[in-house]
């Protein structure tokens, strides 16, 4: 346990962008809300019938949801960069010989990297987003700078804050489970590549999909990847696939709070379990490959 903890600290020492980037985002956004002009909301009449909770769509809830987006986008980018480098960089700079000289198993090493990429950084981004949103709310409330339909809006609502944060946390856990195979795949490219893990990660799927399309005229592989990337939105959040292309239209407002159907649809989806199984298999393969990869 102590070893695993040390291994994870070591990852954060090496890949400083993992925590610097989200911190920087938080700082910039706080500076922004403290300095820029007014934020205006225009609320139309409540869309459609339905039992949406009264407070669900308030400007405050929308602001909170929007607040998290930059943190998660930036985290996503640094995580992808991290996972692709985490088992390649140590061979590039030959430091693998040093890490290998310590009594740490390959399983511990790889597990620490996986946990950092798929758990620690997303959770840290969440905590950062949640805590800075408190600060931002205070700043905005003090400045009376949020207007709804031209009126200064009362901008604090503890119940909404908790509900939105729970909602975001749920989404995060869903996304972590769903994208685990993609993370494991990036690690596989990282441990496999003798040069350019980026090429190893991105070129083979594109080539396979292309050849499949040319030779067989089908789009099976591309479809699997694409559905894999998108289906989570439909399954777990009751959103259609348009979401991915049309963020502005269909922000996951609390209207889409996971009802029982979203959660169970997600947990019952064979695709999720197949993906997790693939993640575990790739993870084991990564450990196996790391064992006998060296600086040569």
């Amino acid at each position: 346990m102590k070893v695993l903890y040390m291994q994870m600290r070591r990852e954060l020492w090496e890949h400083r962008s993992l925590w610097i980037a989200p911190l920087l985002v938080g700082l910039l956004m706080l500076v922004a809300v403290a300095t820029v002009g007014r934020i205006q909301f225009y609320q139309g009449p409540a869309p459609g019938p339905g039992p949406s909770p009264a407070s669900a769509n308030t400007p405050f809830a929308q602001m909170l949801l929007g607040w998290g987006i930059p943190f998660f986008l930036v985290s996503l980018i640094v995580i992808v960069v991290y996972l692709l480098d985490c088992l390649y960089g140590e061979r590039r700079d030959r430091s693998i010989l040093f890490w290998r000289s310590m009594p740490v198993t390959d399983t511990q090493t790889v597990l620490a990297k996986l946990l950092v990429g798929l758990l620690v950084v997303p959770l840290a981004a969440f905590l950062l987003s949640a805590s800075t949103s408190l600060l931002a709310s205070a700043i905005l409330a003090l400045r009376h700078h949020v207007l709804v339909n031209g009126q200064v809006a009362p901008l604090w609502d503890g119940a909404t804050w908790v509900r939105v944060q729970l909602r975001v946390l749920y989404s995060l856990m869903v996304l972590m489970l769903w994208y685990a195979p993609y993370g494991a795949y990036l690690m596989l490219a990282s441990v496999w590549a003798r040069r350019s893990p980026y090429a190893w990660a991105f070129v083979p799927p594109v080539l396979i999909a292309m050849f499949e399309n040319i030779l067989l005229g089908t789009r099976y592989v591309g479809g699997v990847v694409e559905r894999g990337l998108n289906n989570v939105l439909r399954l777990a959040f009751n959103l259609n696939r348009q979401f991915a292309y049309n963020l502005g239209d269909q922000l996951p407002t609390p209207r889409a709070v996971p009802n029982g159907r979203g959660v169970s649809a997600f947990l019952e989806s064979p695709q999720m379990w197949v993906g997790l199984l693939a993640a575990v298999l790739m993870f084991l393969l990564v450990i196996r490959l790391r064992r006998y990869r060296d600086d040569s």
Binding site: Q7, W13, E14, S95, R100, S101, M102, P103, T105, D295
Partner: protein, 297 residues
């Protein structure tokens, strides 16, 4: 004391290349073994097998553990330095100490601090900002603070200048005298380590070409600087190697009594470097200079 390392019929192939070919050897506790051989002879592969870093055929038992299977258990007993350039450049000095303390059960922080006290190394500097000499000192401080029974060194002074190499081996030797350790050292810097060694292990083309204790060398090998007119008589005794030094033939004999040679010229005990050249040349046609001594790979 029992053998620390017991290797039986160890073979390792890389594709068609036989990096190690049926190697069997033993290393006793407390020995300092110099592992020598030309580039590509299989030295590093042998060390990797001992450290469990590569799959192999045969059996490699270290402290009674099978190296391949029990690598992580072994690594708490073994310290391993490849050349000192492998410390990650982004790592801070104090973090490096924290890290080793965190993962190594036998690390003694106080001892590392003691070694570092005598250096100019700033604690909060990144390793990439240190000079090569400082990196060497840091690496040594980390390694020597680990109470390991076996120290494996693979070209530890590669790329260092004479001063740092000397410093490295002096520190190593002093530490060895203070602690009960066994050292396995692969190097090309033969002349600088010769006085340290208790054993020599010469590997050539994946096989053990010579495996002997230093104290047995004088009985086993004799170097003869042949006197004028005695050349034919000396050649009749089957030298394993002949070279010319300042116009005089110098011959190397294996298992020839000194008395038989004494009348033929000046008799001496060969240096390890001479044995290296002789052994490698005896088994095949001479190839372009292997440069065993002081060579920088």
């Amino acid at each position: 004391m029992a053998n620390l390392i017991e290797i039986e019929h160890l073979s390792k192939r890389y594709g068609k290349l036989r990096a190690l070919d049926d190697v069997s050897l033993r290393v006793g506790a407390g020995r300092i073994v110099g592992l020598i051989g030309r580039n590509g002879a299989g030295k590093t592969t042998l060390l990797k097998a001992i450290l469990g870093l590569t799959p192999y055929q045969g059996s490699v038992r270290v402290f009674g553990l099978e190296a391949d299977r029990d690598r992580s258990a072994l690594m708490s007993e073994i310290c391993f330095i490849a050349d000192t350039g492998v410390l990650p450049r982004w790592l801070r000095v104090d973090h490096a100490i924290d890290y080793v303390e965190g993962v190594h059960p036998r690390f003694n922080r106080q001892r590392a601090e003691e070694v570092l006290l005598g250096t100019q190394i700033p604690r909060r500097a990144r390793i990439g900002e240190l000079s090569k000499g400082m990196i060497t000192q840091l690496h040594l401080a980390l390694i020597l603070a680990i109470d390991a029974r076996l120290l494996v060194l693979d070209e530890p002074t590669l790329g260092l200048d004479l001063l740092y190499r000397r410093q490295f081996f002096d520190t190593l030797l002093n530490d060895y005298l203070d602690h009960e350790r066994t050292i396995l050292l692969a190097t090309h810097q033969l002349e600088e380590v010769e006085h340290l060694l208790t054993d020599v292990l010469l590997i050539d083309e994946g096989r053990v070409a010579l495996d002997t204790a230093i104290e047995e060398l004088p009985q086993r090998f004799v170097q003869l600087s042949v006197a004028a007119g005695k050349g034919d008589a000396a050649r009749a005794l089957h030298p394993i190697y002949t070279r010319e030094v300042l116009g005089r033939p110098v011959m190397l004999f294996e298992n020839q009594p000194r008395e038989a040679l004494a009348g033929l010229g000046e008799v001496s005990t060969p240096r390890i470097a001479d044995l290296f050249v002789a052994k490698l040349s005896a088994t095949r046609e001479p190839r372009p200079a292997p440069l065993p001594v002081g060579a920088v790979a």
